[in-house]
């Protein structure tokens, strides 16, 4: 009996927050409350089975349902999923093996451009015959290609640089990402492969293979509402798969070898851990996750250009991993969710609020300072534009006060 009380409370909370989000479909706060239910799930003492049911209820039914009323909710959820997947990929390299990779976004870019080039008329520029864009069904095949491409580039980058010491490795990966971005940015001549800074569009979306089935059940949904839902479920599926794979890897021989290398490389190699091969494998796995997510990202965005793959993106993902706790899977998920919500909802919400204040032109009367017209608030002061400051603060404060992150990996708690 004592076990069912928290579960009921949780259910009540979920119901209350979703009703709130349903009644106020534009409210940022209401949706935040819905998202918070997932966090609560982790902490409330309830049987695992009930937790899974509740999580499924929120993820599979509530969020898509609310998303049909406010598309932005779904957009946020999709972004969260993408960053969770990226953070998990980086977590393998940074968290499990302890190699600081500052160029993670390069692999993301490689995946995104792989589908963007062949899933749009762009490839006609250098392959004659007018085969392109490829039909939507190729999307899933390219998803698999991208995993291979990511693993290949990860290994190719890793082979020469993995001998370097930690901080040099960080700078070389950063340099690699800049090289990839510069190449993508400039490869519109002599042969136009990436279309340079102008970017590529339109990119083909994944196939709606299930549409006949939906129609069979009498569900007529317009493509414009169907696609966001479809992407949401695709991202969710991908994130869940990645969570599953990383969990299995973490508890395997490979995962133990990775952690041994992180703790003491010399000792690990003395114990017979094939250090270089394990590091390469970590690089390849992380890179292939990022690359697969890139394909999905390209298909979702329809338009991509090099601007989406800057150094800041790498640091953002790094901030997520560090905030959550290096080497911890729940940590990476929490970090990615938290930082994305902070960026997309809290900072944007704050910007909108400030804009509203500015337009209202209300007078603010402060004691001693006199009155100040809010319409004089500088236009440049927009919290949404200061992501870097947020990332920077997260990194510094976490390193000084809590280097192990919010949800440190289990192992640390056991010892």
């Amino acid at each position: 009996m004592s076990g069912s009380l928290p579960s009921l409370g949780l259910l009540a909370y979920i119901a209350a927050s979703s009703v709130l989000a349903f009644v106020f479909p534009q409210s940022v706060l209401a949706f935040l409350l819905v998202e918070a239910s997932l966090l609560l799930l982790c902490y409330v003492p309830a049987p695992l089975k009930i937790k899974i049911y509740l999580a499924a209820l929120v993820l599979l039914i509530l969020i898509p349902f609310l998303g049909t009323f406010n598309g932005y909710y779904l957009e946020v959820a999709i972004q969260i999923g993408i960053y969770v997947a990226l953070a998990l990929g980086l977590n393998i390299v940074v968290g499990f093996v302890g190699l600081l990779n500052l160029g993670f976004v390069a692999f993301y870019a490689i995946g995104a451009y792989l589908w963007a080039i062949f899933g749009s008329p762009q490839a006609n520029q250098f392959i004659p015959g007018g085969f392109f864009p490829l039909s939507a069904n190729w999307f899933f095949i390219f998803l698999i290609f991208s995993i291979a491409a990511g693993a290949l580039t990860g290994t190719l980058l890793g082979l020469p640089v993995l001998r370097l010491r930690g901080d040099y490795l960080a700078i070389v990966t950063l340099g690699f990402a800049e090289v990839v971005r510069a190449v993508v940015n400039n490869l519109d001549k002599p042969i136009n492969i990436t279309n340079g800074p102008k970017g590529i569009s339109p990119i083909v979306k994944p196939p709606l293979f299930f549409k006949p089935w939906l129609e069979f059940f009498g569900l007529e949904i317009a493509d414009s509402t169907l696609y966001p839902l479809y992407f949401y479920f695709l991202v969710l599926l991908m994130a869940l798969l990645i969570i599953l794979i990383t969990r299995r890897l973490e508890d395997s021989r490979v995962g133990r070898a990775w952690k041994a290398i992180r703790e003491d490389e010399l000792a690990a190699s003395a114990m017979g851990v094939p250090v270089v091969r394990m590091k390469l494998f970590a690089f390849a796995v992380g890179a292939s996750f990022a690359s697969a997510v890139g394909v999905l990202f390209a298909a979702k965005q329809v338009f991509i250009n090099p601007e989406s793959f800057t150094f800041m993106e790498s640091i953002g993902v790094l901030a997520m991993v560090i905030l959550g706790g290096m080497g911890s899977i729940p940590g990476a998920i929490l970090g990615a969710t938290g930082v994305t919500i902070l960026n997309l909802q809290l900072l944007k919400g704050l910007s909108l609020w400030l804009n509203g204040l500015r337009q209202s032109g209300a007078e603010l009367t402060l004691p001693l300072l006199g009155s100040y017209s809010l319409s004089q608030l500088p236009v440049q002061f927009e919290p949404a534009k200061y992501e870097r400051m947020v990332f920077g603060l997260i990194l510094i404060l976490m390193m000084i006060y809590r280097p192990q992150g919010i949800l440190p990996p289990r192992r640390d708690r056991r010892t």
Binding site: G98, L100, L102, P160, V161, L164, R165, G166, D167, Y168, A170, I171, V172, L174, G175, F176, E178, V179, A182, V183, N185, N186, K189, P190, D264, E265, L266, F311, M312, I315, L318, A319, I322, P378, V379, Q380, F381, Y386, E387, R388, M389, F391, G392, L393, I394, L395, I396, M399, I400, P403
Partner: protein
């Protein structure tokens, strides 16, 4: 080929200017690496800060109506002194806030904190300038003296500002070399770089020397920032990233921790980059142009780290565990 030879002197000049700037910035990386063994990622923002201090001082003189009245040499010295002082102090403050609490942590922890500081400072500068001037892309006011040119030969036109950059850099690099190698404090810096523990046993106040190293490195970065602004006019809070990364490359190229190495590395990289910018398109018949010069610098970095991680003037780097 005709054309290639024709532009050679101009390319060399361009390379020298770039090279001195990289050398000045690289000193900051290399000195900090010498004493703390970590990459001060936020040094590129210290450099940009110098450029912003320079432009603010010039604006201040302009608003006071003094810019046209005062002797240009005095104006330049004032701007440079202000840039060096503020950048040096900022670097010291950075060390105190973001690095000193982490001295006993693994090196990667300090590096991550430095990256955070770099990002934070970029947006802090942007926020400050946005509130103060309502824009964060600033143009240096024109100084008549700097805009003159000396036509030395038909194919070599030397702008006064290039001469100014070269002369100032030579002077400060020489001064720094003297300071580090011939003075008591310089000896202390080298002692801390060699072995902090023994240095502290010899009565050297290690933390104060580290702070001082940050000040000197930061001041050099600030000087480079002012020169960068005077030479290229336009500055924004994010313009430090590429020069910073290249200067780091220069420091590694020369052998990190090695002060003459940083100077040499800066020159080599500056010249290489100028050559790449001018000759890539000539050599490849226009297929690849100057836009690949950044790629070129990073490829150089990757190559050195793979084949000669100790750099040109390679000291053996102490093998510590990261």
């Amino acid at each position: 080929m005709e054309l290639a030879l024709e532009i050679l002197p101009q390319v060399l000049l361009e390379g020298l200017v770039l090279g001195f700037m990289y050398a000045l910035i690289a000193l900051g990386y290399t000195m900090v690496y010498g004493v703390l063994e970590f990459i001060n990622f936020a040094h590129s923002e210290i450099f940009v800060l110098g450029a912003f201090v320079g432009v603010e001082v010039l604006f201040w003189l302009q608003d006071a109506g003094q810019l046209a009245v005062l002797h240009p040499a005095f104006v330049l010295s004032l701007v440079i002194a202000a840039g060096m002082l503020i950048s040096g102090l900022a670097a010291m403050a950075l060390e105190r806030v973001a690095y000193r609490p982490l001295q006993s942590s693994p090196r990667l922890v300090a590096l991550i904190s430095a990256i955070g500081a770099s990002f934070f400072l970029q947006d802090a500068l942007r926020l400050f300038e946005s509130l103060w001037r309502n824009t964060f892309y600033l143009n240096y006011p024109a100084l008549d003296v700097l805009d003159q040119v000396l036509p030395l030969a038909t194919n070599l036109v030397v702008p006064v500002k290039s001469l100014m950059v070269i002369a100032t850099s030579l002077l400060s690099l020489g001064g720094l070399y003297y300071f580090v190698n011939r003075t008591r404090i310089g000896t202390a810096i080298r002692a801390v770089a060699q072995d902090p523990e023994t240095a502290s046993l010899m009565g050297i106040p290690v933390n104060r020397i580290i702070a001082l190293t940050f000040f000197v490195g930061g001041a050099m970065g600030g000087l480079a920032g002012v020169l960068f602004g005077l030479h290229y006019s336009l500055v924004n809070p994010y313009s430090g990233f590429a020069p910073g990364l290249k200067a780091f490359t220069a420091a590694v190229l020369g052998g990190i921790g090695n002060i003459p190495g940083a100077m040499l590395g800066g020159m080599v990289l500056g010249l290489l980059e100028a050559f790449a910018a001018s000759y890539l398109s000539i050599l490849t018949d226009g297929a690849f142009g100057a836009e690949y010069k950044d790629v070129f610098a990073f490829l150089v970095l990757i190559m050195i780290l793979i084949f000669r991680p100790r750099g040109l003037l390679g000291e053996t780097v102490r093998e510590g565990r990261a």
